[in-house]
């Protein structure tokens, strides 16, 4: 496999991103290594081909934002909004992720080996997000669809105003948000969980050690008795 190296100390990010937006036929299956990212924002955003990108260090905000098809690996930690609004492909953060990781992601898989900050998987729209560590408060806020797996603990207000997304947490949940409740894990959900654990490098973790959460669906329609929750 052909590998191309870009050093952000020497080449402007604009040129690297422009190269990564090139014709898919020239990028599919290629490997690209980005050295000295030094926390730059918007690295490898808007990719739309099956290119494999490895970021050799820490990324700033919105790394791999709106990803389509590409496989992006961040060997360090990621700033806010990693893989925000991802459509497809895979984004793997080997370190920690800051706030709003996987925000509004529609498809694909986001794997975070470490912890994630506040509002992880906020407004999730169909993607799969697996966090090896713990997640901060207000995670899965208004999550609409997709699956959110947390191997550690979750902070306050998990799944506030959640719609149809499925949430699986192995550790403690500090508190549940409005309209989020514990669900009985059915066979279909368990299969999803087993599959995601296998895909994210946690195949030895038992799905039975997780508790599933989801929407109680009491806020789907306006009702005067719910005024306090609005």
């Amino acid at each position: 496999m052909e590998t191309l190296n870009f050093d952000l100390d020497k080449k402007p990010l604009r040129e690297v991103n422009q190269f990564l937006h090139g014709d898919a036929s020239g990028l599919n299956g290629k490997s690209v290594v980005i050295e000295n990212p030094n926390g730059a924002h918007s690295i490898a955003v808007g990719l739309k081909s099956d290119v494999h990108v490895t970021i050799k260090g820490h990324a700033g905000y919105y790394a791999a934002g709106m990803n389509q098809l590409a496989k992006v690996t961040i060997e360090g930690s990621a700033g806010s909004g990693v893989a925000e609004n991802m459509m497809s492909g895979t984004v793997h953060v080997k370190g920690f992720a800051s706030n709003a990781a996987g925000a509004t992601a529609n498809g694909g898989l986001l794997v975070i080996d470490g912890d994630a900050g506040l509002r992880c998987a906020i407004a999730l729209k169909g993607a799969d997000v697996v966090v090896g560590g713990s997640v901060g408060s207000f995670s899965a806020f208004m999550a609409q669809a997709g699956n959110f797996v947390v191997l550690g603990d979750a902070g306050e207000g998990l799944g506030d105003s959640i719609y149809e997304a499925k949430v699986f947490v192995r550790g403690k949940v500090k508190s549940l948000g409005a309209d989020c409740e514990i669900k009985t894990m059915d066979a279909e959900s368990k299969k999803i969980l087993i599959d995601l654990l296998a895909k994210s490098g946690h195949k030895d973790v038992s799905p039975d050690s997780f508790t599933q959460y989801g929407s109680a669906r009491t806020l789907y329609h306006f009702h005067v008795d719910n005024a306090g929750a609005y």
């Binding site: 990010l13 955003v45 905000y61 005067v224 609005y230």
Partner: protein, 454 residues
């Protein structure tokens, strides 16, 4: 007995005329009764309905001895506008400064969106998506399409981002600054639900804050990300609801906005609480000058390549409003409610149907219920057939042409060879309030409250 009675009649204390309270007027009382009966606040569409200081309170000073006018229909009066040339490789070029404001597919029918696209394209202007993603009806029929980037991110995807001609990061809107979108179950049909990734038929409440950034420093990084995704081709607009226009504009420009869209409280919404529409935000008249001042203080006002353009909206109805907004410093305007009326919204020929809905033509604002007899603010497949996108688009194009020509009439009378040459010095105010808000003198005086001494 009969004598006594007649005496009584003559000496009876005269009755006073029944007197309604100005404070507890008929509408207020009906709202109290409605609240008491339902236990939930009133939701409606449209913008502020109260009487506000507005462009009607300003007048132009036509040319006379001290300056000379231009010949109508003979001497040129330019109307074109370029938006977003600061960073974008492909700035927006429009033939008229009258643009179409953001309105979502979902709140409007697909055919209404198509009509907006057709009308705007024929008139040489842009149309704008809304809180529900981009539809083929709209992209296909709009020469220039502005794609909104909203807190909910409903339907947001990079393919549509790349198809857009400009991107508008929406912070807020005039009808509800600080509030998110709302679309009630009647309008969340299968197609709308799929585009927004929501269960069918739910009452949707969009978020009011963006999910992955907070504050102006983050906004700068976000704008940069959108530029990177789209290879710095497209202008980035930032839309704000008018509240603290000086600071909000200054921060948005600092964050990298190419164009500011400033929406006053008369600007419409598909649906929100009545209390929000009528009591949060300020009229557009009061917002333009502080916004322009912010651009001037930053050296970004009509300063060649280093300029940020200002689009204002909220109650723009005719060419006089367009000319006044531009004279106060705007580069362009946006119309929403007025465009819907041009398409056929609230038309008197549907009076019988409005009566059935308990309202009357001109007052119909329960757009969230999806029962619009004009087929515009609905997702009902039968009702939406009533709007003919070709004919409605033609009406919209006519209307925009009239507004543009009216603005030219005024500009030529003031001796201006381009609408953008209109300036505050061409205006006076009819009321003290309008004078203070628009910072132009009260007619016949040199007085601007808050600026000069009486």
């Amino acid at each position: 007995m009969s004598d006594d009675k007649s005496t009584d009649t003559i000496h009876k204390t005269p009755q006073t005329t029944p007197r309604q309270s100005a404070t507890f007027d008929a509408y207020t009382n009906s709202e109290i009764r409605r609240s008491a009966a339902t236990g939930i606040y009133d939701i409606r569409g449209g913008g502020s309905k109260r009487k506000l200081p507005h462009f009607d309170d300003l007048l132009f000073l036509g040319a006379s001895v001290s300056r000379y006018p231009l010949e109508g229909y003979r001497e040129k009066c330019g109307t074109d506008v370029v938006l977003g040339a600061r960073f974008a490789k492909k700035p927006i070029h429009l033939r008229t400064p009258v643009t179409i404001a953001g309105m979502s597919f979902g709140s409007l029918s697909g055919r209404a969106k198509e009509a907006l696209g057709r009308g705007a394209s024929a008139a040489g202007t842009s149309t704008t998506t809304g809180d529900g993603g981009m539809t083929q009806e709209e992209r296909g029929h709009s020469t220039t399409l502005v794609y909104q980037y909203l807190p909910s991110r409903y339907g947001m995807n990079p393919d549509d981002l790349r198809k857009a001609d400009a991107i508008e990061v929406v912070i807020g809107q005039g009808a509800k600054p600080g509030g998110g979108g709302m679309l009630l179950g009647q309008k969340i049909t299968k197609r709308v639900a799929k585009m927004r990734c929501l269960p069918e038929g739910i009452d949707q409440r969009s978020s009011c804050r963006h999910p992955d950034w907070t504050g102006p420093d983050d906004l700068e990084i976000k704008i940069n990300e959108i530029r990177e995704i789209t290879d710095w081709e497209k202008p980035i607009y930032v839309k704000i609801g008018a509240t603290r226009p000086y600071f909000d504009v200054a921060l948005a420009v600092k964050a990298g906005a190419d164009v500011i869209v400033l929406d006053g409280m008369q600007g419409g919404t598909a649906a929100t609480q009545e209390v929000f529409i009528e009591h949060v935000g300020i009229p557009i008249l009061a917002a333009i000058r502080p916004a322009v001042k912010a651009l001037q203080d930053l050296g970004m006002y009509r300063n060649g390549k280093n300029s940020v353009q200002l689009i204002v909206s909220g109650g723009i109805r005719n060419g006089a409003d367009v000319a006044k907004a531009i004279a106060l410093g705007a580069d362009a305007v946006a119309i929403g409610t007025a465009a819907l009326i041009a398409l056929g919204d609230n038309d008197p020929h549907l009076e019988a149907e409005y009566q059935k809905l308990g309202t009357t033509a001109g007052a119909y604002d329960d757009w969230h219920e999806g029962k619009d007899p004009a087929g515009i603010t609905t997702q009902d497949p039968e009702l939406m057939k009533r709007i003919d996108p070709v004919k409605a688009g033609h009406r919209l194009a006519n209307y925009i042409a009239v507004m543009t020509m009216e603005a030219q009439v005024v500009a030529r009378a003031c001796g201006k060879s381009h609408l953008h040459n209109l300036e505050p010095e061409d205006l006076v105010a009819l009321t003290i309030e309008a004078s203070a808000m628009a910072q132009v003198p009260l007619a016949g005086t040199n007085w601007i409250p808050g600026v000069t001494k009486f």
